[in-house]
């Protein structure tokens, strides 16, 4: 028995469904991710000659001032590209976002200066200076790398702590100072110099701490430790202290200090790898390695920490890579230069190479 009317129904249904889908996509479009582009804001030449003593470049501005360092040249620049200070270190310089100590190899007195070169305090000590990123804490590192002293602004010792073996790496953030030791132990010191944590990750044939980092908010600490095998360990702060969050076996066997750090939001760890930098998410335990043509020479971030910035240096020059962790590369540029610096200014990238400083903003297209 035939039902002639029923043959047309599937075609109508199909047409209605297609119409619905088309309207659905028009009415509720799925937002595509916006493309990120690197947008150079300004570039300035770093002057060859520093100002005469007592002649700062400009008076200190407001927020958005960053320090920079290219070899023995260093200084401070404003977010609009105005140089506040440019100097040359007689030996080395300890830099923070608020000041610096430029010191001689054998000098016993240091002078802490602000971002325009004005004298802040003098320190009659026999170690070498180290400043916290914000410049509020001043340390003297004993020259044999056996200990650390925190100084007050009068040059007196707030605390003095020795370690049973050589210091291999230090990271300071706010009230925390993380010290890596030659014997493979991490020592986390509080504001009074008392150990909050002493942790030996172990598990390797040779114990050593090759690099360490405290996250900006102190919620995590990380270290590259051991040889054969080498590990990345990340510890997370809990109510009672710090506990191991993840441990990642690395393909490297560095027998020197490894460049590493946290993203500004403390979510990501970046570290130097055997063939390029790695970006590690401790919460997901996922590592992403980037291939760069030379050894990692500098690392920082842009777009308020959401885009990682790496620079490698080889005989052909500098390769700059901007990549959001877990995202698509923003850019990868190669240019001729002999040295490179990466920092942040107002949440965006401050890059320096040879005699040039530039601000590069990463923005949505």
């Amino acid at each position: 028995m035939a039902f002639p009317g029923r043959k047309k129904r599937p075609a109508r249904v199909l047409f209605a469904a297609i119409l619905f889908i088309v309207f659905y996509f028009f009415l509720f479009p799925y937002p595509l991710g916006k493309e990120l582009v690197a947008h150079p804001r300004w570039a300035v030449a770093v002057p060859d000659q520093p100002p005469a003593p007592g002649e700062p470049f400009a008076t200190a501005g407001g927020p958005g001032i960053s320090s920079w360092q290219l070899g023995d040249r260093f200084g401070f620049v404003q977010e609009d590209g105005m140089l506040l200070y440019s100097g040359r270190a007689p030996y080395r310089v300890a830099l923070s976002s608020s000041g610096f100590v430029s010191y001689a190899r054998l000098g016993t007195d240091w002078i802490l200066r602000d971002r325009t070169g004005r004298l802040v305090a003098g320190f009659p000590v026999s170690g070498y200076p180290l400043l916290s990123p914000d410049g509020r804490r001043v340390f003297s590192v004993k020259t044999d790398l056996s200990g650390l002293i925190e100084l007050d602004r009068g040059g007196g010792a707030l605390w003095d702590r020795d370690f049973p073996t050589m210091i291999t790496s230090i990271s300071v953030q706010q009230d925390l100072a993380l010290v890596g030791l030659l014997n493979g132990t991490l020592v986390l010191l509080d504001r009074a110099g008392a150990p909050v944590l002493e942790y030996a990750p172990g598990g390797s044939r040779v114990a050593v701490i090759a690099g360490d980092a405290v996250s900006p908010n102190g919620s995590r600490i990380a270290a590259v430790c051991g040889i054969d095998p080498q590990y990345l360990v990340v510890l997370r702060r809990t109510d009672t202290g710090y506990e191991a969050e993840s441990r990642e076996r690395l393909p490297s066997a560095f027998r020197r200090e490894v460049r590493m750090g946290f993203s500004p939001d403390s979510r990501w760890v970046f570290l130097e790898g055997a063939s390029g930098p790695g970006v590690y998410d401790p919460a997901r335990r996922s590592m992403r390695w980037l291939n760069l043509p030379g050894p990692l020479a500098a690392a920082s971030s842009a777009r308020f920490g959401r885009v990682a910035a790496f620079a490698s240096l080889d005989s052909g020059g500098v390769t700059l890579a901007l990549e959001p962790p877990g995202g698509i590369a923003v850019c990868r540029e190669h240019f001729t230069a002999g040295r490179v610096f990466l920092g942040t200014i107002n949440g965006q990238l401050l890059a320096g190479w040879d005699g040039t400083l530039a601000r590069i903003d990463v923005e949505e297209l």
Partner: protein, 297 residues
Amino acid sequence: MAHRSRAPRRALAVLIALGLCCAERAAALDWPVAARMITGTFGEDRGDHFHNGIDIGGGGQPVHPVLDGEVVFRYDDGTDYTSLPRGTGSFIVLRHDPHIRTLYAHLQAGSLGPVRDRYAANDRIGAIGETGHASGPHLHFAVFDEETGSALNPLEFLPPVPDHQAPVIRRLYARVGDRLVPLDNGAVLKPGKTSIVAETYDLREDVAFRWPLAPVSATISLDGRDVSRISFDSLQVAGGHMSAGAARLAREQVWEPGGLLICGTLDLKPGDSALRLSVQDLAGNEAVRAVSITVSP
């Protein structure tokens, strides 16, 4: 009387055993350089720390490991990344045993050569330089025992250098409050705790001028009985501070400004006593100063 720490003896045994296994030479360990010009000794006062090794002069000399070893850590000044200022300049740390490590510091920048994992005893590590906090070219050589957390006196492990030069005791003092009272025969002191301080040093045999080095030990005896001893055989951290010898004395308890050695603290009782200070170097040369003192209430 304090006893010598066990750490150096254990490390010595390990190092000699390693040396005999690894090297087919008459001596178990060898000097890291050919010309053995010692310009600084273990335990000296360096302002904010004890000197944790020895200094060997002779700029530009090739530096070799004292034993076959594996590189644990290296730093090439001006080339390698660093998160802290390194007064050691360019250096290499080698591992000879799970716990024994040796440090070769202030090497010439760029002399470390390509990165490698191991060095044989006759390989060249680098050259003596003055990178880092060094006033003149020299090698800073140190031995660490990571098991005990000690720095050990390297001169206890290296082949002995001929040394017939006795240490010198120039002056002897008693610390009374904030004053140093010269201790000569017939000196009168008050009863109670009194520190005995000496201007004393060891001398290098190979130079005619005064080049003061720290001695290896100083012992005070009172009426023939040893009452205090300080020795620079090892440095260990105690309570967050580096301390010397088995007595675990902090730097401020051992050295006064001006390089004066605090030889010990005595609890003086009324009466006449014979006080004797004996200062020794590692070769066993000894300097003695004996004085008679009167302790009067």
